[in-house]
Symmetry: C2
Subunit: 359 residues, 2 copies
């Protein structure tokens, strides 16, 4: 029996051979066998995250690395700027506040991107150690222009660290970490990487590590300097790693690089274009401001006022899972993800089913 | 080909059907299917952790829950007492300090247990919010008498929360959480639970949740009140859960309860006795103070001055993995774990190999 295929913005479909990789027997995490696996994973992960600087892997969800970011980047007596235009940016603000950081929140209307001028206006007050930006808001289907924001911040606010949540975009969309001079990019396994959840990945700049040295009380589990100390000494990770998930990552990195990053990005873009065309064909508008549509998940505005739960149920009976709108956007929008393993043939199959419901 | 069998104190052997459970396809973690799984897991986990109070599951290693414990239990202006008689208690002290807690460290000689009188002497100074104790130190093979310590603390220091690391003992040894009036017991998946690493479990008292309400800046990822809020509202976990590992936990809980907790504890004790008898037969002493030997891992003192690395290599060539001593105890001790899936027949097979080396 085929299982229900996931067109939701995470967790996403995982390839059978990647699922199967998890069944390899355990090894000691302080053994040479494990070190060989770990240090074979790292350079390929750097390739995918487009960095020659530092890459860390934690046994956590992406939210754990949101905590890492603010605890390591923001000194006492300095502020963090949280740009909020969706649910996951809102969470990052909560994470900042709950860790005792002096967090300034700037709200942007949902559906709009974070724009450089809004960041500029907020940072202009001075006293900031870092700015947090969600690259791709799965709650709104909006993708912000990180390149433009980073250029502004690097030029005008050289001491402000740029912290980017790319949970639902990294590996599906090019985010040249080093070239854009970002300071931390965090992502997790269960979105465009198409792995089971439970791992999170971070690209980290030299600048960010230098800053962490000036921040006391960074905690232990998510402390970048502890992660770096173990990694640099050949001791892999400070805490016990999620071995079976790393087996899966090992296989998936090979698959990602075999496809080729450019091909992978192009496939995501193609699926997005197909989804836009399908939505337009049915007279739906898109929720995001034009030009800022996510390449991994499309948030469709329910301009036709269809019965969204009925369409979701109809698809579900045909073994396809799409998402309703997030929170207060429920029924006013619905979401179709096109990331990870999904390709044009999957989108075609999905649209055939949705057409059947709509026509 | 059979894989090398692990007699190290974690990760431990995982049963083939538990490994296989990880290959089930992903489901949305906000779906009813996932909620059904999660709320089917919880009551069985409570059974195994011997509590009717609260149980939480995090996507992390056990160290993550060490952080949870101190961040939720210790108020500013109050102290935490870290009793340290091994490597993992030492880590808990580092975790306390790195989270900005006023941490008082009491060192006990490695090989000795934590004794009630030592806890009493330290708490007598006053001003403590909590005491941290590692139940079973995998670095020394020592198991402390938590019942006696808890009785002392509950009677004499009613406001001091009792935080217990049972990473390498829970489910292999009875630790009646409610009866002993503990406040937090933390453990992880890859030891006596015999699961892959990546999940951590906590039993938490009502008292502990009440205390957390008085502690600001508990963070987000490891905040007990956030975990409780989601769990109580039927929303499972705040952060994305490690779904494939929960599939494995689901299967393993059935296996644990099918064996029966008493039978499981007895099996661990039998394997310990076999290991003690084997060590004595060869003229080895045990490292722990008599009466405090761990029931899940035996730390053997190398009184015969054998070539420990040679014995480990000899066993490894025969597909069996045992552990050297921890840190400075390397070669002066070696460790044989007897937890999780291991039974008397496994120990017999191991000792046949080690006998061949020694005789």
């Amino acid at each position: 029996m085929t299982h229900p295929k996931l067109f939701i913005p995470g967790p996403t479909e995982v390839a059978p051979e990647v699922l199967a990789a998890q069944t390899r027997p355990m090894v000691g995490h302080r053994s040479q066998d494990f070190a060989d696996l770990f240090y074979h994973i790292l350079p390929r992960l750097k390739q995918v995250l487009l960095t020659n600087q530092h890459v860390y892997i934690t046994a956590s969800s992406g939210t754990g690395l949101q905590e890492t970011a603010v605890r390591n980047a923001v000194r006492s007596g300095h502020k963090v700027l949280n740009m909020v235009a969706g649910a996951f940016a809102d969470r990052w603000h909560q994470v900042s506040v709950s860790n005792g950081k002096d967090a300034v929140r700037v709200d942007i209307a949902w559906g709009q991107p974070i724009r450089p001028e809004d960041v500029d206006a907020a940072l202009d007050a001075g006293g900031f150690d870092a700015v947090t930006i969600v690259h791709n808001e799965t709650s709104t289907g909006v993708m912000s222009d990180i390149e433009a924001i980073a250029r502004l911040v690097r030029e005008k606010y050289p001491d402000v660290l740029i912290l980017v949540d790319a949970v639902s975009s990294a590996s599906g969309v090019p985010i040249p970490f080093d070239e854009w001079r970002l300071d931390m990019l965090l992502t997790s396994s269960q979105k465009a990487f198409a792995l089971p959840p439970g791992l999170a990945f971070a690209a980290v700049s030299d600048r960010m590590l230098a800053r962490a040295k000036e921040v006391p009380h960074r905690g232990w589990y998510f402390d970048l300097l502890t992660l770096e100390k173990y990694l640099a000494a050949g001791k892999t990770t400070p805490a016990t790693p999620a071995i079976s998930l790393l087996y899966a990552l090992d296989v998936q990195l090979d698959r990602i690089l075999a496809e080729g990053l450019e091909n992978r990005w192009a496939r995501h873009e193609t699926c997005m274009e197909m989804t836009h065309a399908w939505a337009r064909k049915h007279g739906f508008e898109l929720f995001p401001a034009p030009g800022y549509e996510s390449r991994t998940v499309t948030c469709v505005r329910n301009t036709r006022e269809i019965d969204v739960p009925a369409m979701i149920a109809f698809a579900r009976e045909r073994n396809m899972v799409i998402g309703n709108g997030y929170g207060s956007l429920k029924n006013q929008t619905f979401r179709i993800a096109h990331m990870g393993e999904l390709g044009p043939e999957d989108m075609t199959a999905l649209f055939a089913v949705l057409d059947e419901f709509l026509l």
